[in-house]
Amino acid sequence: MTEPVWRERAALAGLGLRREIAQQLLAAPAGAFDFIELAPENWIGVGGKFANTLRAFSERYPITLHGLSLNIGGFAPLDTELLDSIAGFIRQHHCKLYSEHLSYCADHGHLYDLMPIPFRRDAVGYLAERVQRVQDAIGQRLVLENVSYYAAPEPEMSELEFICEILERADCELLLDVNNIYVNSINQRYDPIEFMQGLPADRVRYMHIAGHYVEAEDLRVDTHGAAVLDEVWALLAKAYALFGVVPTLLERDFNFPPMAQLFAEVQRIRDTQHQHQTGAGKLA
């Protein structure tokens, strides 16, 4: 088995680094997963035993960053100190990309959760400009994730229009979260495939897939605490058909099953990727 390497637009499948399963992941058989994703806000400035854990991963696996506290859609000034720390972390651990949520997580203080940006016309230019400032600060493209949301306060445009306009005006990339699209399609009553067809294919850099919680038939909550549903696997296949294969992460944040089960889900990502790479859409 060769050392895992990162390649863009490649059939790679990763797992999220949670402290609860870190030791089990380090003990994983070679090839169980290709890269590791972590939230910089959980690991920046951390020393001692956790720093040793992080070093062990960073020596063995490519790392992608999935931020939680940037508050890109919020009204507080951008936290440039956080951005500097993230830029330093990216350099130190040779992180392959930095993604964040198209969301806000604070008013005058942090709430540490993802709130839905009102789909307002005046938010688009404001957000695009903030994304550009972030990209200048970190010296690379920001990868923005479509979030799951349970309420759309006073919308002036559709979610799809909102996302597309921001991606275009900010000239940033998209983290396509397939589970979020599925959850939203139920909660907001739209067709997930039609939604995906409206997204700019050339901006899709990275994908997420996850399990969620069924609160009610018409209300799904994106908890990352369960196995991926078959309907969501089908949507992932559709996403590869539309956008091509890109590195894809399995999100699992709690309620962990035996590792073999997680690795089987990672393998299923790869199998889905390979079906689409050997097909007609295979890229040179």
Binding site: I44, N71, E81, L219
Partner: protein, 279 residues
């Protein structure tokens, strides 16, 4: 960053992160909509939800915010959690979310925000059980030291002999926090809640050793005073002895000298201090 930020809370744990300031490019309508939404999430019992949103969906958000912050607090402050009934704890977490402006973007620092909140007077129970704040400070010290990215200078072998030590400069490890409490916080737990403050100050050093284990050492007042001096301006051991000789200890100079050297050797062996050469 954000030098212009006027903090809502005095004495933020770290002078970083977000605060009361607003991005001057933020559209006022967007700001108002976000404030309304977030205000309800912070205090769903007292602040009405935006009218257009189905209550069931709004409850998903209030539930997620509460559960996430609660899990950080109960895992960061396990003893404090056990000293609260379920009802008291829920009320405490809810008040924290409603009243406290958390500046830190780091999940690892939420504990510091919580300690600041407990000291702010918003927290219920602070008046009837003043030891809870001290317990929280102690539990946070343990977690903060476990997570700290400071490093302990390498040990140079066994503690120096007294004569050599007198000419050396003792330095406090950046991973050692001398703390003084009114209560024996390290012994508090369910079934062991103090009725009154201890007769004498409780001097503890919470520290992380060379194996990255977080420990504590209870010291006497003499050692605590010595640690306080070491934390201050750099003084070599002989100067520390001089300094203490001018204070009211009932000891001869030679007793004082062997007392200081004995304490320092012990602190050194436990990875609480290191020695450097004097300039």
């Amino acid at each position: 960053m954000n030098d212009s930020v006027t903090s809502l809370d005095k004495g933020s744990p770290e002078d970083t992160g977000i605060g009361a300031a607003i991005d001057d490019r933020a559209p006022p309508g967007l700001v108002a909509a976000q404030r309304r939404f977030a205000a309800h999430l912070r205090d769903p019992r007292n602040v009405p939800a935006p009218a257009s949103i189905e209550p069931r969906r709004m409850r998903v958000y209030t539930g997620l915010v509460y559960a996430n912050i609660e899990s950080f607090l109960s895992s960061g402050f396990p003893v404090l959690r056990k000293l609260h009934t379920e009802e008291e704890w829920v009320a405490c977490v809810r008040t924290f979310i409603a009243k406290h402006c958390s500046h830190t973007p780091y999940f690892t620092n939420i504990g510091a925000e919580f300690v600041e909140f407990l000291g702010s007077g918003f927290a219920a129970g602070g008046a009837s059980r003043p030891y809870l704040l001290e317990l929280a400070q102690y539990e946070w010290a343990e977690l903060a030291l476990f997570l700290s990215d400071e490093s302990l200078p390498a040990s140079l072998g066994p503690a120096p002999e007294a004569q050599a030590m007198l000419a050396m400069l003792p330095r406090l490890s950046p991973l050692a926090w001398p703390m003084v409490f009114h209560y024996a916080v390290h012994e508090i737990g369910p079934g062991n809640e103090p009725c009154a403050p201890e007769a004498a100050p409780v001097c503890l050093v919470v520290y992380r050793d060379a194996q990255d284990e977080v420990k504590f050492l209870r010291t006497d007042l003499f050692s605590a005073r010595l640690l306080e001096l070491i934390e201050g301006q750099p003084l070599c051991t002989a100067q520390l002895v001089e300094q203490l000789a001018g204070e009211a200890y009932q000891m001869t100079k030679s007793q004082l000298q062997s007392g200081v050297c004995g304490v320092l050797a012990n602190l050194y062996e436990q990875d609480i201090i290191r020695f450097a050469d004097c300039e």
